[in-house]
């Protein structure tokens, strides 16, 4: 199971990469494995205002459909359109080419409530 050290995590299995006031978000290796082969993805619109822990994207596999929650409040400034046509990329590269969206967050304090790599490992292992 690949769980990179340099990322923050959520209980709902998103990873978060903080860069200044921006956070890149995707699903973890654990999540893509549990979801199994992804066949459809719905992403939020650019510019959408979102609130921490609000469901804003949907990932569908042959098993079921799963809500994806934004880990931080703010504005969606970028979505990964490439994965719409090739959703299998999220299975293959959940931390790289298979990221989902970037949120420009409002409140730095919210970062404190994200899980550290150790906390996340405790959650899933």
């Amino acid at each position: 199971m690949n769980i990179p050290d340099n990322l923050k995590y959520t209980k709902t299995h998103e990873w978060v990469k903080i860069d200044c006031n921006k956070a890149k978000v995707g699903i973890t290796d654990f999540a893509q494995h549990e979801i199994t082969d992804i066949v459809h993805i719905e992403l939020p619109e650019i510019g959408k205002r979102v609130k921490k822990e609000q469901p804003i994207a949907v990932i569908e596999s042959v098993k079921s459909a799963f809500d994806i929650y934004t880990p931080l409040s703010g504005k969606i400034i970028d979505v990964n359109d490439n994965i719409i046509e090739t959703p299998e990329v999220v299975n293959k590269s959940p931390y790289g080419d298979g990221y989902l969206f970037t949120v420009e967050f409002d409140d730095e304090k919210e970062i404190g409530s994200l899980l550290s790599v150790d906390d996340y490992k405790k959650l899933i292992l």
Partner: protein, 476 residues
């Protein structure tokens, strides 16, 4: 695989013959006359008969196999009811006929509404909805309209994660925001947790009873008190009514509005693409909002009332799926109050019998008792990368229809089993023996058998991922 009709077609000679000297009405203009030959498959009548007979023999159906599909109530539906639904007196009526000429039909619908009120403890019913989710959706429109009528802004619906998946979908479609509520390990709701998320914006909470883990919600009186204290409404997803008929009534427990699936509980086969019927029941204060037309009894006559100012309007062509309504009526009248109670008791007994045989061998997340269905969580027993999907596929090799898998979502690798009241102990035992053998023996000793399954079916394991990613939806 059976070929398509187009693939069976031969070039040599047409399988149909039309009179060449057919007289065409001289008023048909030249431009509308066909001058190309008909593009139909050329198949002899006997080959055509064989094609359809062969297809029918490849069916997995309740009439050939045990069908323990959790959450779907795949029970035996009396075939005589199908026959009654096809009586000319019903089947050949036209929905535009004057209501004076279809009094019998209106009487059936009127009486069924009354019977459903008696079974559910609600005050009024509407039979127009075409399926369970349609019932949910129309109920949510009623909830929205009700709060509008009393000038309250309530835009949110609470849905526990142990509710049916259609609940949040219906609420979203009706324009509400969803507030999820995490349930306990048996799918029940903790009143304290509910209190925490209950704000003045909450219009209603939707409870599935029994819930998707097959347990009865034990805190209903308290939930009802809290919810109503907040001015919100209580919704009953009655898709699992097969477990509680004649035992409890949602109306008595404080529910304000609900739906029932006639095509599960009341004698119409579930699945196969419908038609279904998802009537909704309400307490009297919500009656003005029910869809139109309402069937009313006026003197010696039944009439259709289209004149109700506050109604949410029309939801379905004409009056709903009448044959399904008729079958439900016949079923209820045949069984009577005692018979319906017996249905539920037997359904619960069958499920508990199976659960009692599984519970010492396979993890049961909701405990050792259930209502009409239960969930197994075999994940810890799996080695060799075996998954629930492989177990389900292997069951096909033993001639069974697989149970519901990966639902409810709150149980990892879930297997959801609903035997229904119409199966014998012998059938239940044989299925339990087979499933235990697959999970406890084959999965560890011969995992490849599971990975390769099914091998005894007309087609092997289908590539579900490719089918979803690149569906081919037409011939050529």
């Amino acid at each position: 695989m059976e070929k398509l009709l187009n693939e069976l077609s031969t070039e040599c000679c047409p399988a149909y013959s039309l009179d060449s000297d057919i007289e065409i009405n001289p008023q048909v203009p030249e431009s509308l006359k066909r001058n190309l030959s008909l593009d139909l498959p050329n198949i002899s009548e006997n080959d055509l008969l064989r094609h359809f007979t062969n297809l029918s023999r490849k069916n997995y159906a309740l009439s050939t196999t045990f069908y323990p599909l959790g959450s779907c109530t795949m029970k035996y539906n009396p075939l005589v009811n199908e026959r009654i639904a096809k009586f000319d007196n019903f089947a050949k009526l036209h929905p535009y006929q004057d209501s004076k000429t279809v009094q019998g039909v209106l009487e059936v619908m009127y009486n069924l509404e009354k019977d459903l009120c008696e079974i559910s403890g609600m005050d009024c019913f509407s039979l127009q909805q075409a399926a369970g989710a349609h019932g949910e959706f129309s109920s949510l429109l009623i909830i929205a309209k009700y709060f509008k009528s009393i000038k309250q802004k309530r835009a949110k619906i609470i849905v526990p994660d142990s509710a049916h998946g259609t609940n949040p979908a219906s609420a979203a479609l009706a324009g509400f925001d969803i507030v999820p509520l995490k349930s306990e390990s048996d799918g029940s709701i903790l009143p304290e947790k509910l209190k925490e998320i209950l704000t003045p914006e909450i219009a209603a909470i939707m409870l599935t009873v029994p819930n998707t883990l097959g347990t009865f919600e034990k805190n209903i009186p308290e939930i009802s008190k809290i919810v109503h204290g907040n001015g919100s409404l209580l919704y009953y997803d009655g898709a699992n009514l097969n477990a509680v008929m004649g035992v409890v009534k949602p109306g008595d427990m404080g529910f304000d509005i609900m739906h029932i699936n006639l095509h599960k509980t009341f004698s119409t086969p579930h699945g196969g693409g419908g038609p279904g019927s998802g009537p909704i029941g309400v307490k009297a204060f919500l009656e003005p909002f029910l869809p139109l037309p309402r069937i009313e009894s006026k003197g010696n006559e039944f009439i259709l009332n289209y004149e109700k100012q506050e109604s949410i309007g029309k939801l379905k062509a004409f009056f709903g799926n009448f044959p399904v309504i008729l079958k439900a009526y016949v079923y209820i009248k045949s069984l009577g109050a005692k018979g319906l109670k017996n249905v539920s008791e037997q359904a619960v007994l069958n499920a508990n019998y199976m659960l009692s045989r599984f519970k010492d061998k396979i993890n049961v997340p909701a405990g050792g008792r259930c209502m009409h269905e239960f969930v197994l969580a075999p994940k810890k027993l799996f080695k060799n990368a075996v998954r629930t999907l492989d177990v389900a596929k292997r069951l096909l090799d033993y001639g069974y229809y697989a149970p519901t898998v990966y639902f409810p979502l709150i149980v990892e690798e879930a297997i959801m089993i609903e035997p229904t009241e119409t199966e014998s102990k012998k059938t239940l035992d044989a299925f339990v023996d087979t499933l235990i053998k697959i999970i406890l023996e084959e999965a560890s000793l011969e995992p490849q058998k599971l990975k390769d399954a099914p091998v005894n079916t007309f087609v092997g394991r289908l590539n579900e991922v490719e089918a979803a990613r690149n569906p081919i939806l037409k011939w050529k």
